[in-house]
Symmetry: C2
Subunit: 230 residues, 2 copies
DNA sequence: TTATTGTTGTGTCGTAATGACACATTCATT
DNA sequence: AATGAATGTGTCATTACGACACAACAATAA
């Protein structure tokens, strides 16, 4: 079979938005560019799509390269293709966003890539249209976390309800009522009491829960209404 | 500035999923391919991205070419990039989905392109991975219509509540309670009584409503919980 | 040992939303 | 005038939700 004769071929890149949770606020893993243009500026981690590589595989390759992590939560966000979005040459960028437990990443990889966890809320300027990408990713995160239990992807295996609440408060940048939150979360039946307590606390030690994986998987696509007034 | 030297360039296509509503069921506007491979099979309407054209502009161009319509509801669905998805040559496809009033399209354009409205539910096989695209688009439609008032995009300017209900029943392939549906829809305040009645009815003529555009735009991003148990 | 302080866990109460369901109205047909 | 099919509106019991108060716990200080 002969190839399509007409039509121009374009550069296709993958950019990754990597969210983490520091306990108080949502963080973004970005790299400091060490090449022109925009050398020294902050940028999302990215790369070009290899010739014989599926998009999702490319995203996982890039995520692994920076974090040393496999099997993390990744989903395709959107594709950005404005003609002049990359000043060097027209490049279509397929953007993915990932949620990781911030304590699990490989620090050596991060150092090698000149990467850093920055505050999402008070983030510095990013290159090109990466700013817009992050905006849309945050929207998606808020949207999704209000309806599906994806927040857990940002927490360690064992976590307390107050920690979980802090996470949701960070995502939506709002205060939540402790009692109503707890009631709602527990009513999902997704949490299993481990019997252990959070020993790091200086006051009353909160119970550590873990996710009921089976219930999580089977109920993932059901709708929850976690947030009061989105 | 010099261009990126490394990295291969790929074909980038746009495919469009076009939904319409026939009064009883959801329809899909597809074309019969008149070239190889897969000549004679059903396919989504698509095209390649032009060198100096934004993705959204390309989508609108392709949609206009087939339907003769401008300013319709379009949103980016997802990008499909499996290595072998197109047997001819690797092609990345950015997929958009559009909602139109089925009675507004230009019939001449449809004839020229060998296009036809087919039933979504009992659809024939589609080429390549277009089947998967439609599946995901339907999921998105269901997801979105449960939370945002996008259903109206599929109806004529003036419509009755029973028509609207039929639409939702078609989208979700389920029966809904007349009284509860009506209550819920009216409580949104999005509908304005035109004072007219549906004269096509052989029994009691239902009141024709129109959308309160201002309220629609301002409340579009709010969450509704239209559907009972998704 | 006891009091203090900050945090966690659980319960109540009134209101609003929801699903299940029944009855009256309208209009063409007979 | 009666019939039948579809539309419009109302009720009721249950549940979910937001606002709020109090008891239990653990480290620290007195």
């Amino acid at each position: 079979m002969n190839r399509y004769p007409h039509s121009t071929r374009l550069l296709v890149a993958i950019d990754c938005i990597i969210f983490g949770f520091g306990g108080e606020e949502i963080k973004l893993l970005v790299i400091k560019r060490n090449f022109e243009p925009e050398r020294g500026k902050w940028s999302l981690m990215g790369g070009f799509v290899n010739e014989e590589e599926d998009l999702e595989v490319g995203a996982e390759r890039i995520l692994f390269e920076l974090t040393g992590l496999n099997n993390i939560y990744v989903e395709q966000l959107q594709t950005f293709g404005k003609v002049n979005r990359d000043p060097v040459e027209r490049t279509i960028s397929v953007v993915f966003f990932a949620l990781i437990n911030i304590h699990n990443h490989d620090e050596e990889s991060v150092r090698v890539h000149n990467a850093a966890w920055i505050s999402l809320k008070n983030r510095p300027a990013l290159i090109f249209d990466h700013e817009k990408m992050v905006e849309i990713a945050l929207e998606r995160l808020r949207y999704k976390a209000a309806l599906h239990p994806i927040g857990f992807e940002l927490l360690p295996e064992k976590f307390t309800i107050p920690q979980l609440q802090k996470l949701y408060e960070a995502i939506y940048d709002m205060k939540l009522d402790r009692r109503n939150f707890s009631r709602k979360i527990l009513s999902t039946g997704l949490l299993v009491d481990t019997g252990e307590k959070n020993e790091n606390s200086a006051t009353k030690k909160a119970t550590l829960y873990r996710l009921d994986k089976e219930r999580y998987e089977s109920k993932f696509h059901a709708f929850w209404y976690f947030m009061p007034d989105l």
